[in-house]
Amino acid sequence: MKELVVISGKGGTGKTSLTAAFAALAENHLLCDTDVDAADLHLLLAPRIVETHNFIGGSKAAIIAEDCSGCGLCTELCRFAAISDDFVVDPSECEGCGVCRAFCPEEAVDFQPRKCGEWFSSTTRFGPLVHARLGIGEENSGKLVSLIRKQAQFLAEQSGLELIVTDGPPGIGCPVIASITGATALLIVVEPTISGLHDMQRVAELARHFKIPAMVCINKYDLNEEMSSVIELETERRKLMTVGRIPFDPAFIRAMVKGETIIEYDPSAQLVETVSSIWNRIRSSELMTKKEARILPIMK
């Protein structure tokens, strides 16, 4: 089994629209959306949810007023300044470390695992989809990402599917690290802007750090062709494979408004041919086909 994770560093470069197009082109595959705090893939794939599960994240502290003696030890020990002088925990500052509970002489701290979101197992017109919704402002997005990737692997194995295509989150932090660890290969979607180049370098560095092979695709390349060439040079310097250039095309937005992938929106368009050949290049690339190319099981 193999897993391709689509990431970008910078947001808004076209990850989701492209992943959805790949979903329409791929065969014998399963889809996964690990952008758990702003998931959008379902807007194009209109999933029918088959199973809903609660995501139990970390615990948060709450001080039981009637048991509290007001000794102040918890406020003194809390390294996150999450407990006010009148002993109320601010949940958005509470890190869930449990120090206040461990040291409270009155056992006045309630510390329970909480529901931090939900994850879903769904069917779509392009195969099964595993996706999630992190509660607003919640933490532990990395834990939720690892959980749904593990579920995706389990489900793919069970159904004899060979490929997982994952729509990843922007950035280089916790949810991205959780999205890429152990993946077969990454596709970095870049836009030809000074920010796009900068952010691609950081995400490529992250891939190198975790030793995950990556490919690069330039989206909206004609918005700045000079910058597109700079990005290709940079890609070459980093010994990454460029799988293609996609022009800026309002069809992406029009398809999105209709809730369709660009493949369905206008099957005869030149754009479809461009994206299909990129998909074929990815699919037949050495990174995705060589024998040792497989997913490493996700720990925890």
């Binding site: 702003a38 959008d40 807007l43 991205v176 690290i177 700045n224």
Partner: protein
């Protein structure tokens, strides 16, 4: 006053709005790039000289001559950053959240101060702007601690513009939480609207007044406008899609340098923010 510029969806134009708003105002202000995973402001606002400071956070180091393998530290740690194999304590520094609980609970004083690098903070000045931004170390998972460090230079009388990270989870909340007003930048597409709704919910939870900037206002559909009307969210500015704007951005340019018209529009945006923020305070 502290204004944070946020959006659920990435790539809607947060940085464009932050930098042009900051550049258009002719008075001293602090511009903080809190998108520490992928900071971009410095590619547009380029101070001649940057002072770089490395930021790190506590992680435990076990003094094996003192440790008796009692396991209290590993039992306390909620993040699995400590494990005891036989009588030996193993530390996984990248999982540590720096609560220092292991040090507090160790009866043998065997937990010493170690550190893990979070990243750097770069600070410099450009005309009337003091720019400060965080650069998360590649491989570091936790961005909120570095975001807090970037915000630590804020003083009560400052005018501050914060460029927030995308999303609605802890990094975005951390960046927005300190602000008096949240300027939400969105685009009128299904993805833009879906992520905007989540961000508006988050801002409501924080009880901070907010307003919208609709970028690429002429693409997509009318749903964002309908949503704004329904929720009573003021639309403070609309920026049309244009290839010229996209090209200026792609090269690291500022809109306000292109024409006085843009400068006037961003100054007006600031005035409407100030007005809305005051009204928001009165209504709360």
């Amino acid at each position: 006053m502290i204004i944070s510029v946020a959006s659920g969806k990435g790539g809607t134009g947060k940085t464009t709005v932050s930098i042009n708003l900051a550049a258009s105002l002719k008075r001293p202000l602090k511009l903080l790039d809190c998108d520490v995973e992928e900071p971009n402001v410095h590619l547009f606002i380029k101070p001649g000289e940057l002072v770089s400071r490395t930021e790190s956070t506590f992680v435990p180091v076990i003094d094996e001559t003192r440790c008796n393998g009692c396991r209290k530290c590993a039992e306390l740690c909620e993040f699995n950053a400590l494990a005891v194999i036989g009588e030996k304590v193993l530390v996984f520094p990248e999982l540590c959240h720096s609560c220092e609980g292991c040090q507090m609970i160790c009866p043998e004083q065997a937990v010493k101060d170690g550190h893990r690098e979070l990243g750097t903070i770069e600070t410099g000045t450009w005309n009337h702007i003091t720019l400060s931004y965080g650069r998360l170390r590649v491989g570091e998972a936790m961005s909120p601690p570095l975001i807090s460090r970037v915000q630590s230079i804020i003083e009560p009388a400052d005018l501050v513009i914060i460029d927030a990270p995308p999303g609605t989870s802890c990094p975005a909340i951390k960046a927005m939480k300190v602000s008096d007003f949240v300027l939400l930048v969105t685009e009128p597409t299904p993805f833009g609207l879906h992520d905007l709704v989540l961000t508006v919910e988050a801002v409501k939870k924080l009880s901070i007044p907010c307003g919208l900037v609709i970028n690429r206002a002429d693409i997509g559909n009318e749903d964002v406008y309908r949503y704004a009307r329904k929720e009573g969210l003021p639309i403070l500015m609309e920026i049309p899609f244009s290839r010229t704007i996209a090209e200026i951005y792609s090269q690291g340019g500022l809109l306000v340098d292109q024409s006085p018209e843009w400068r006037i529009r961003f100054c007006r945006l600031f005035d409407s923010i100030a007005e809305t923020a005051v009204l928001g305070e009165v209504s709360q």
